[in-house]
Symmetry: C3
Subunit: 279 residues, 3 copies
């Protein structure tokens, strides 16, 4: 279907080229930097406590990704997140593997207590863990029991809504069917390719794209809600995956093709690709 925000926000991102400060894991950091460049944003990766606040001060958005968190970097995330809140810089949280260890859960909960996030993106197991304050995640993938489907998306939405409301964040739970909620409405997004779960970094990259879209909207004072903005980012990134899948030969070339799609697809290409449903 035609989804106007896709056209507008992807163009805004290219026009305003927001600088996105990522404190992120060392596994997928290169893909994160490249996907930001591909969509017209500008990445900066820095994690030293001595400088993260200064980087936030010149940035339009901040991504905090727990992928390879340690106590030194957790402290930098806290400093950066608080500074971002002070300055009105939007912050996106990616709570990678948050249910897998106590340390991850405590780090995430401490961040949630001290920092207001504009958006939180994870798989459904990660978001359920944050919602309930406890959880069990097998590594960094969602549990199979937790798969969001057409049948249960409403029920999952009901579980996540109070958390979205309490944190004043838009939640993006990605999977075969993506669930997005701002605490009031729930959207389902079907864009994407099953191959995206077969490379490392698809989730991390989407969190960066989401932050860039949010930042472009805030920076340009455009009249899009964060729900629409999150949906636009999720559709766009999903469509990059659909495009990349067309000549699938394996995950090496797929990853490369995903970045190619992110580079060349414009708002005009994207605007009619959305597979969104209001739940």
């Amino acid at each position: 279907m035609r989804f106007e925000p896709l056209l507008k926000i992807s163009n805004l991102t290219r026009d305003f080229s927001p600088l996105i400060h990522c404190i992120t894991n060392y596994v997928t950091v290169n893909d994160c930097a490249n996907v930001l460049l591909a969509i017209g944003a500008s990445p900066v990766m820095a994690d030293a406590k001595e400088e993260v606040e200064e980087f936030v001060s010149i940035s339009s958005g901040l991504v905090l990704n727990l992928g390879t968190i340690n106590s030194r970097v957790a402290n930098s995330m806290l400093l950066a997140g608080k500074k971002a809140n002070e300055l009105g810089v939007p912050v996106v949280l990616d709570p990678v593997g948050v249910g897998a260890t106590k340390f991850r859960l405590e780090t995430a909960l401490q961040l949630l207590e001290s920092v207001r996030f504009t958006a939180i993106r994870g798989n459904i197991s990660e978001l359920k863990t944050l919602t309930l304050g406890v959880g069990a995640v097998k590594g960094v993938d969602a549990l199979e029991d937790d798969a969001v489907t057409e049948t249960n998306i409403k029920a999952f939405g009901d579980i996540l809504k109070p958390f979205a409301k309490r944190t004043e964040s838009v939640l993006v739970a990605t999977g075969a069917l993506d669930l997005i909620t701002d605490g009031e409405s729930v959207l389902g997004v079907e864009n994407g390719s099953p191959k995206m779960a077969k490379i490392t970094g698809a989730g991390c990259m989407l969190s960066c794209v989401l932050c860039a879209y949010v930042s472009a909207v805030v920076k340009s004072q455009s009249p899009f809600s964060m729900l629409e903005t999150a949906a636009a980012a999720t559709c766009a990134f999903g469509f990059f995956g659909e495009t990349a899948e067309m000549n699938y030969r394996g995950i090496g070339s797929f990853r490369s093709a995903l970045l190619d799609a992110a580079t060349v697809l414009s708002g005009d290409d994207l605007v009619n690709c959305a597979k969104i449903k209001r739940i």
Copy 2:
């Protein structure tokens, strides 16, 4: 030649999808995660002392890679390795550049003293260094004098066998000709492409594939010896390289093609590719 374990173990890896916890270097970590996904395993990379033991507890295998080791992460490796031994989770050591500095050698020897490794994979210089407790390696590549050939593989096997026996580990020394020994038998594997030495990360990736294969065998209680399992991993990864080399245009596309081959080749494709010889 036909080598049945190749068919069986590569299928087991896809069926059991073992979670492999890697404490590894930040140079090739992305390739390590992607190659694990490509062969059907699931990667988790985490190195904080606060959580590595918990990650080991939910994992089927652990890889310790010294590529960019520092004292903080060395400590995490020690904790993770001991926990893995406690729980019967197989551990693979990749002693990158171990002969190059005192710090690396001491770290490796301390790990060997405290942790029992199911398999150790390195180049022949690295394994000789561990065997002799001293060494000289030029960076992270094997010394030319140390190249394993048809002529000297028996002699090299005799050098490594006592170390394999003492550590109860299968040793995999990779090069143009790979040498595998469990302390009793010695195998030579000729699969592979000379281009694999021309990208960064081929060794690191094989260590991960090896760990995934070992973990799949252990998890499924399959009746393969660790010698056979190590040979299967080495043949398979070598064959990925042979396949990737077919349209060689340089190391950028070769690296991508290597991951593609790892994604699409099934046990049926692999079973007849083995170039193994009992020495």
Copy 3:
């Protein structure tokens, strides 16, 4: 135009295969390792204070890149740089984002005070910041006001020359038009593709290529000046980009094609590609 050093130095790099020790950021480190392998050099990445001096002792060149600097690694850089100076190992500085934060500027200035660099490569904003001791950089990209053009290259050369003289370093300021100076002469290099600014890591990779070229010249005691050597590296890397751009489909495949070009282009291919002008 024909530029003899391009032929000679790129061949020297393949013949002498210098080991290049990089203390660098975790964003682009994989590309740095691969580009060094592509041009025939050998990379080692290690950053622990316990071992960097030993790695320097067996290396032919050292790259210090501030991309994701923290205090632990800054200390290792200082140790490695001093050791390199002691041993006559050439050192290249890449002051990524140096004007963006006080911590980066102080770290860079402390390195400049304690270590003599053979070459310093950055964008023009970064080099101006080092020259003036203060600066404002938007993240890791050059400010638009700072773009070097045919019209202002002489003026920029005049700004940088005293800094080159004082530090006894060759300066390489890259952008659409690259400026190279040893404090006496100024060269302009037009090789390159605008797509290089659209991937992460082009600058970091050039710093590594530059270090490899410098190291090959020093190691082989070849009679090329550091100005010529820096120009050769800049032309060569720019030409890799021109070659990679030919089938441009997006930044994923471009990055891969850049490494392919670096792999397959020989001195004979490069020697006539130079677009250099003495200013």
